[in-house]
């Protein structure tokens, strides 16, 4: 995945840093609540919302079961329509293909539609090292790029910035901005003037796609700002980098997702722009079209019967907006272009659980279930999180020569809980501790790993008489 996130600390440490940023906390709390409420309102309008979710899930699962078939069909139809299909096993291969395609045009600049997939593979950095400059044209992506920042949300990558911060950034980095104010309309106007020149000059456009329709070989991008439409129609060459899981069989299937996505994502009934393109057309749009189909861990994910549901994701970000963890830590703490609950199940599967960040992500959740409740394709994120926790625990056990302190504690707990006599004995020991605390009934400081509890919270003292002791005394 993108090298930009390399060297990030595991989630708990990254979160601690983020939690200390009061401006970030305020920006996130405000923004997530606004989108959350908007979504809830437009979802309430649809009496068949639950049926739509179920259809969205079932269609994805069926398509993924027959993915080989639909991908070959897609390749055939794209080729028949004058496009060229390239297969990329991993990020490096995809970057090599795109770089070569741009170099063949002789251009040194490209304009980009907001795309999670190209962020995932770190395309901008790869192009940069080949002397090609990529201009992001989505407003929030532009803000991130100008600030040499990292995205922190799937839909609104600059959600961690407020408009005062953005005004300062524009004044500093954007010649067209002048003495721009902090009104959203003013900021958008400055960005529009800045971007217009890039659109008119660009010969190569790069995009992702929200969906690929197999039956006709059509790519689909949904967006709000119109920058996508510009990038998809003005340049001579269009290169789309798309994950293999984005394919849907028919236009009829697409209908389900075009209802689910905008309501879940921006909280709108319909998104302002939906662009579709099928290969190339004489006298209309790009003269050459390349589709780069990316695996990068997706086949491996598909092989996992519980984990594979993460591939249903349509990148709406509803789970981020309702996640109480995300709301407080923001996206950077997740060390990946995919933050929030979906990131916590997607990143460790796409990248593997070899690194400390990816091993920490499945644990970055209270399993409260708010994400599952809103997911438009019914990904049971808590189920996948727990499944990945088991994978991390097992791999850690295999890697270490001696069991971790946590594994030992869990083993000890299993031993105690395997016998009511042992549990009763453990309770008597705990009760002694409780007695030592005296009548205050609370514990202010605990040692070792339990200090994490008492840093900010009192701990209750264990009861002097356990329930089972009381029952034996009174009911027998």
């Amino acid at each position: 995945m993108s090298s930009a996130f390399l060297g990030m600390p595991p989630f708990p440490q990254a979160a601690r840093r983020a939690l200390a940023d009061t401006q970030l906390r305020r920006n996130l709390a405000g923004a997530t609540r606004t989108i959350r409420d908007k979504r809830a309102e437009v979802v309430r309008e649809l009496p068949d919302w639950e049926e739509l979710r179920e259809a969205g899930r079932a269609l994805k699962e069926r398509t993924l079961r027959h993915l080989d078939h639909y991908l070959l069909q897609l390749e055939e139809r794209v080729t028949a329509a004058g496009g060229q299909v390239h297969w990329a096993r991993d990020a490096a291969e995809a970057n090599r293909i795109v770089t070569r395609l741009v170099q063949e045009t002789g251009e040194h600049e490209v304009v980009k539609v907001k795309s999670m997939t190209t962020q995932e593979i770190g395309l901008n950095e790869a192009l940069g090292s080949a002397g090609i400059t990529a201009y992001e044209t989505d407003l929030a992506e532009l803000i991130v790029q100008l600030g040499e920042d990292l995205p922190s949300h799937i839909l609104v990558p600059a959600i961690h910035r407020n408009r005062a911060e953005i005004r300062d950034l524009f004044r500093r980095e954007m010649a067209e901005a002048g003495e721009v104010g902090d009104e959203p309309a003013e900021l958008a106007e400055a960005a529009r003037r800045h971007l217009r020149r890039k659109f008119l000059r660009a010969k190569v456009g790069i995009s992702g796609a929200n969906f690929l329709v197999a039956e006709t070989g059509t790519a689909v991008v949904v967006e709000s700002e119109g920058n996508g439409r510009m990038c998809l129609t003005l340049p001579e060459t269009l290169i789309s980098v798309v994950g293999i899981e984005k394919v849907v069989p028919t236009w009829q299937d697409l209908e389900v997702y075009l209802q689910l996505l905008p309501r879940s994502s921006t909280g709108e009934r319909m998104n302002p722009y939906t662009s579709t393109w099928t290969g190339i057309e004489d006298g209309d749009g790009p003269r050459s079209f390349h589709l780069v189909l990316l695996d990068a861990g997706r086949s491996d994910t598909l092989a996992d019967p519980i984990g594979r549901q993460a591939l249903n994701c349509i990148r709406c970000s509803a789970c981020l907006n309702v996640c109480p963890v995300y709301e407080r830590t923001g996206g950077h703490a997740y060390g990946s272009v995919y933050p929030g609950p979906i990131g916590a199940v997607l990143s460790p599967q796409l990248r593997g659980t070899g690194g400390a960040v990816d091993r920490s992500l499945p644990f970055a959740s209270t399993l409260c279930g708010a994400c599952y409740e809103v997911c438009p394709v019914k990904i049971d994120i808590p189920e996948v999180l727990v499944h990945l926790r088991a994978r991390v625990v097992e791999e850690t056990g295999e890697r270490r020569r001696t069991p971790s302190p946590e594994a030992l504690a869990m083993r000890a707990a299993r031993w105690v809980f395997s016998s009511p006599a042992r549990l009763a004995a453990a309770q008597r020991v705990a009760a002694l501790g409780g007695r030592a605390v005296g009548s205050r009934g609370r514990v202010g400081r605990l040692p070792g790993p339990l200090a994490g509890w008492t840093d900010a919270r009192d701990a209750p003292a264990p009861a002097r008489e356990s329930f089972r002791q009381w029952w034996k005394r009174t009911h027998r």
């Binding site: 279930g369 926790r389 625990v393 309770q427």
Partner: protein, 270 residues
Amino acid sequence: MRTALFITCFNDTMRPATGRAVVTLLERLGCTVDFPLGQTCCGQMHFNTGYQRDCVPLVRRFGEVFADYDAVVAPSGSCAAMIRHHHKRVAEVAGDRELQQAVRTAPPVYELSEFLVDVLEVTDVGAYFPHRVTYHPTCHSSRMLGVGDRPLALLRAVRGIDLVELPDAAQCCGFGGTFALKNSDTSVAMGADKVRGVLESRAEVLCAGDNSCLMHVGGLLSRLRTGVRTMHLAEILAAGEHSAAQRVGAGDPQYARVTDAAATAGRSPR
């Protein structure tokens, strides 16, 4: 109907007052409940932390201990959800046919409010509790079990109660089992917002159906010396005007305070 109480290891050790309250309450409603002493733990901590194999013997024990009952009642939403939704998965991971069969044929497990409203079909349990109370719907009870309005319906029927809404009630309190230790900073940040809601409600008692969540929020409320106490739903529902039976709670300071207050009926401490 043979009903068994699954107290949960946490309540057994840390908050027996809740178990005593469940027994008081059910006996008052004419329901005889048994407490099979072979019970220990549902395995939730192991399962949710990634130690699925370590909870196999616990799931097996649970099945053996409760096999002969018609219903099991548990004063914990998250433990009831663990049993209802995840014991099946543990048996699958173990690859044990016999265990899978045992899980399939196990008696239904009800969270306390489900048992009262759906099985005993009562909402007015004859409780008297003249205090200002706010209720936090714990995530596993509301999202995994779907207990919905049941706890609130039970609380609304309590005489003397001043039940007030908790702002942002549906947001997770930040406990999350071992999350509270592994990600203690985030856990506390979430808990701090829950505390803010509790204080805004100006309640003197924070009530919930899971003592583990209450230990977390209660730990913050206590550290800050807010003067707000936490009580399990069962403890409020067991409180009565003539609560001699509840004096068994003496020895647990928190419980003792509550019963004393209930005994001095009508004289609200506010």
